[in-house]
Amino acid sequence: MESVVAKSIIALSSMAALFGAILAVASKVFAVHRDPRVEGIVEVLPGANCGACGYPGCQGYADAAVKAGVAPACPPGGSDVAEKVAAILGSEVGEVTPKVAVVHCAGGQSSAVRRLEYEGIHDCRAAVLVGGSTKACVFGCLSLGTCKAVCPFDAVELDEEGIVRINVKKCTGCGNCVDACPVNIIELASVDMKVHVRCSSHDKGKKAKSVCAVACISCQLCVKKCPSDAIHMVDDLAVIDYSKCTNCGICAAVCPTGAIIDDIKARPKAVIGSKCKGLGKCVEVCPVKAITGEEGERHEIDRAKCIGCGLCLEACPTKSIGMVGALGHQRDRD
């Protein structure tokens, strides 16, 4: 009896000791040098593994950052993370312009004509494979919420009209929705950009109008009125060049169908002071015809029509036009 106990104890403990020794030796022989900075960087990253930086996940970003010695841009993390990563690496902070997703479709249930009822797999990508969009417009949003499902930050909402809305405060610009959208109506744009074309239809004007009330009908009013040459027609669709756009909002004001949306909730209004000599320059430049008056007399601005674009300010030779509204040009009251 004792011999069995003794044998068992001796056999097991010698096996354990042997294995322990093997592992101890192996951990020295096969030791992998790990840079502690990598772990540090992974700690400060958002950890969404969204891939917006172009590396496979946050671990990939950390490896690349340590290897290169500088911090690549982490769009979801923004400047906070950039500073922390730079502090760990001891490098300069790279400039990060935050981007957010912009949806180029506003065709909700009440404005877009429905072509069919879809009852398949609840996913835009699946629906596109079956029979295209449920709406008569083949370019538009399918309203099945695949972008919402793939958003790691809960920034995508579908309103009761079935229109996708991006919560700009939550959106980090990771681009997951951009990749997931089968009709490619989502784009990343700088968070400073507030005026967007909410339509992706390349249909000709009449066709576009017949299937959606808020479609771009390629009337080109916006192109003509844009003071900074920032909007152009591409295959019968108005497209804003975000590098030139100044958020003046003229295009949104002149668009007859409301396909261009101005996200600045409140803009200042122009007022004409007593120095006005009635030269009429402002009347010429005003894109919304808000200024009226006889030549030689002080002109007046219809505040209901004025969109606060500021063109008359620059055009006035006597510098008698000012802006009131105290909100500033770019600020959003939201």
Binding site: M15, F19, I22, L23, F30, A31
Partner: protein
Amino acid sequence: MDLGQLLAIVVGAMFVSNFVLARFLGLCPFVGVSKDSDSALGMGMAVIFVMTMASLVTWFIYTFVLVPLEITYLRTIAFILVIATLVQFVEMVIEKTSPTLHKSLGIYLPLITTNCAVLGVAVVNVDSFMTADLPRNASFIYTIVNGFAAGLGFTLAIVLMAAIRERLDLVDVPKSMRGIPITFIVAGLMAIAFLGFSGLKIG
């Protein structure tokens, strides 16, 4: 030792007594790592590898240590010791020699260090081959083939499960059933389906 016998072992371990769906071993990774088929396949490969290695090593330990010392009743504890050491050791070696392989396989290795399916295959090997009256070389080959086939069976089950779950993500499942509950039901149905293999007769 003949090929018919080997085939019977392979089919038996993969289908008739599939480790997940018939023996209900290794359910944790089966549910946990079956969200997408890529990681399920990675997990499956890791399990095949570890099960084969574990079968090999435990055969040596059993035949040359436990049997001569007449302490075969300690097999469970001895096998846990051996398998855990083996997996740790292999992980270190892989991490050093092939970072790419470590990236795809390595993260699953710690998960199966003490997986019951791995221990289960070692114990099953003992019961069916090592204690049976078989010549040493036959029991050795049967053991390794059984370990490998059991791993294949696990991979089959987890990849099937992952494929089903990927499709489930797109389906309108009732709210209370979404996620794990429907997964359990699917696992149950798969187990019932695999019961059909128990009528199989080979050799």
